[in-house]
Symmetry: C2
Subunit: 219 residues, 2 copies
Amino acid sequence: MTNTIREWEYHASVAPMTRREQQQQALRRDVIDAALAQLDEGGPAAVNWRALARAVAVSPSTLYTYFESLDALHTELIVEIYGQMAAEVARSVDRQAPATERARQAMAGYRRFATRHSARFTLVFTDVLPGYVAPAGGPTIGAQATVLLPMAEALAEVTGEQGVDIEAWSVGNRARAIGGWSQLHGFVCLEANHHLDWLGDRDAVFAAACDRILSTTLF
Amino acid sequence: MTNTIREWEYHASVAPMTRREQQQQALRRDVIDAALAQLDEGGPAAVNWRALARAVAVSPSTLYTYFESLDALHTELIVEIYGQMAAEVARSVDRQAPATERARQAMAGYRRFATRHSARFTLVFTDVLPGYVAPAGGPTIGAQATVLLPMAEALAEVTGEQGVDIEAWSVGNRARAIGGWSQLHGFVCLEANHHLDWLGDRDAVFAAACDRILSTTLF
DNA sequence: TTCGAATTTCGAACAGTGTTCACTGTACGG
DNA sequence: CCGTACAGTGAACACTGTTCGAAATTCGAA
């Protein structure tokens, strides 16, 4: 860890990186990608230190140069996944559409991500790691808020609340927000964990649930 | 494994067990209790074969006489926990009360179990074990239905559906049932996984959610 | 370019895991 | 009472996360 300020850092504002740092960052990405692959394949408990080392062709002990521990890697994974999910949700909404329609699109995106990447969804939303607690004030909290942002915006537009920070809303509107989110989350959880496999017309039931959510929390 | 039919089995219908079988069953219970303790302490991934063996003062290999594998034990755990949860829900409802009140009590029981035993709740409702899938037609399916029984009864009473098998209901009533369940489940999931810790008035928000559930699915 | 220091990498080791297997000792049934 | 069936065992195997000392490599300054 060097504290010397390299001269070109004053001019190049975008990429203050030596060759080594670039390679390091590339390897970090490779590790995270491999971890996502392990996650998709075998579930949260299958994310495996030694297998990750093999995947990036490096000794297990070397990996400790890049990540402090398996738990630290888990935290980074959670942030990464929240980002992916937020992107999926944001990509699903048409910013030109009216609030109701945007909310519906956002919910569809939420569901799509959960069903397509159920292991990732499970990792970020349920406590599966023994003794793991999200670091208070850590990065995972804000990352989660990003997922809900489009829905919060739609709701704020309808209710007239200023800003998008739910905690700052009125008690009634906050309860409405939580209510809508938990309705959506409940269906999606059950579906992602295969508790609704026996349902033939899941799409129709989800659409009905969305209608109910919209009519009970947006109006 | 002996196939000979013991004579007294014809007469004693309740306890066809030798001393040995009794001891075996007792040890099985001890193991399951120890597993529940491990689960409560360290989450689903912490249920540990060798520690279980230590807890019941037996060699790890001996445990294989009683359970086929760790996965088999997991399955038994899931059934056991569904039973506990169903008992908690059933115990919460006053059979004399009207349907609406019974539904409210059942939902409170559902929530109470989830918050008081979040690790058990997580184990049964989310896929945390790599590659584990509930054996189709296995015991876990029916066990889950038992948890929902009081709510299904209340809903059946209101809608006039015959019987309690949701799959046999009309499309509309089935969608209502799923909708109500997922609303309840969503709030409870978020709460059990500490995503609502920032909410000061969780009880009030839950009560409001219950009101909404009752008004949108029971009437 | 060369030298010294810092840092990255590695292999070996430790304690732990689930599971298998050949081997006991014991308790039961005929 | 004896033979057998079976519960119980410890050692072993292939894993896991993590630590540590030594070797190798890279980097910055002279």
